[in-house]
């Protein structure tokens, strides 16, 4: 009986065994790293993008000196000393009916350059503190992932005859349109530009494929038709966390008013939050 041949040199022992064992260990370690990276990607996508984009979009709204940012600022003008009283100054003035303009006379801002922020959006259904910036363009890297809501270039500007079409993430990256499916018929969608307020009313909801671009046509659903009204169209992804389809909400302009001391009554509305 012969002794088994010693195939393992002392050097191999020092480095952890045979070559095949070492290769297996390397593959195992690479798989552990791959698993950790994939897990981190999910954490980044679902949580971290909200952190960075929310911060960026808040700072962007704050940098717009014309943008209405809640009744807190109106309270700063309140005379000191009447702290016992109900702070009426907390509630800004409301635009009177006679100051409301008909859609047909709505002034329309000129289309701005790519990535330029030209409006803010308020949706009482999504909370009285909801305010997000609206910027030009719908590319992900430059607009939707960072600046928030994007305006489809070439579609109408706020107040314009045709279709003011905007897009935003429904999940992640600050998720401006997270609660798009909760919008009910008649809900106010308020757009403020440097000069004017535009109050739209939400209408039809649609779920379409990404190729159905007729939803942002001047007359939604009828490409080529002459514009007959002042529409707004919100597009976002559907189902949530997927890009398979698009969630669409159309709306129509109800009135406009110049920006001044008063704000539309709609944005002061407290809609019960779920």
């Amino acid at each position: 009986m012969t002794a088994p041949a010693d195939t393992e040199s002392p050097r191999h022992h020092a480095r952890g065994g045979r070559l095949s064992d070492r290769l297996l260990a390397l593959v195992g370690e690479l798989l552990i790293i791959a698993g950790a990276v994939l897990g981190l990607y999910v954490v980044w996508q679902l949580f971290y993008t909200d952190v960075t984009s929310d911060r960026e979009q808040e700072a962007l709204v704050e940098s717009l000196e014309w943008a209405y940012q809640g009744p807190v600022e109106a309270a700063a003008d309140a005379p000191a000393g009447d702290v016992d009283e109900v702070p009426e100054a907390d509630v800004p003035l409301v635009i009177a009916d006679e100051d409301k303009g008909a859609p047909a006379d709505a002034p329309v801002p000129d289309e701005v350059g790519f990535t330029e922020t030209f409006a803010t959006m308020y949706v009482p259904r999504w909370g009285s503190d909801y305010v997000k910036p609206v910027s030009e363009g719908v590319t992900r890297r430059d607009v939707l992932d960072t600046l928030g809501i994007g305006h489809y270039p070439g579609t109408a500007m706020p107040g314009g005859l045709g279709n003011f079409a905007i897009s935003a993430h429904r999940t992640t990256y600050g998720k401006p349109f997270n609660r798009i499916a909760e919008l009910q018929e008649g809900d106010a969608i308020v757009i403020q530009t440097a000069e004017n307020w535009y109050v739209y009313r939400a209408g039809e909801h649609l779920i379409v494929t990404p190729s159905q671009v007729e939803v942002i046509a001047p007359v939604p659903g009828a490409p080529g038709a002459e514009p007959d009204d002042h529409y707004i169209t919100l597009t976002s992804c559907h189902p949530m966390y997927s890009a398979a389809e698009r969630y669409i909400v159309h709306g129509v302009l109800e009135y406009w008013a110049p920006v001044g001391d008063a704000v539309p009554a709609e944005i002061l509305e407290e809609v019960p939050q779920p």
Binding site: W44, R140, R141, Y152, R170, S211, V213, P223, S242
Partner: protein, 55 residues
Amino acid sequence: MIFPWIWRVLPGPALLRVLMLLVLAAGVVMALFTWVFPWVSVTFDIQDQSVEAMP
């Protein structure tokens, strides 16, 4: 292989090596979050919410 190698090349006592590993890991995560993941997400079009073309 990889992990033992990192452990070997790091100098100093074990506690210091652990601290260095934590800093290293934080740096890697930051690089992934800041550059790699945004690039992957946009390049491979993992999610998109606009309708495709302009009217």
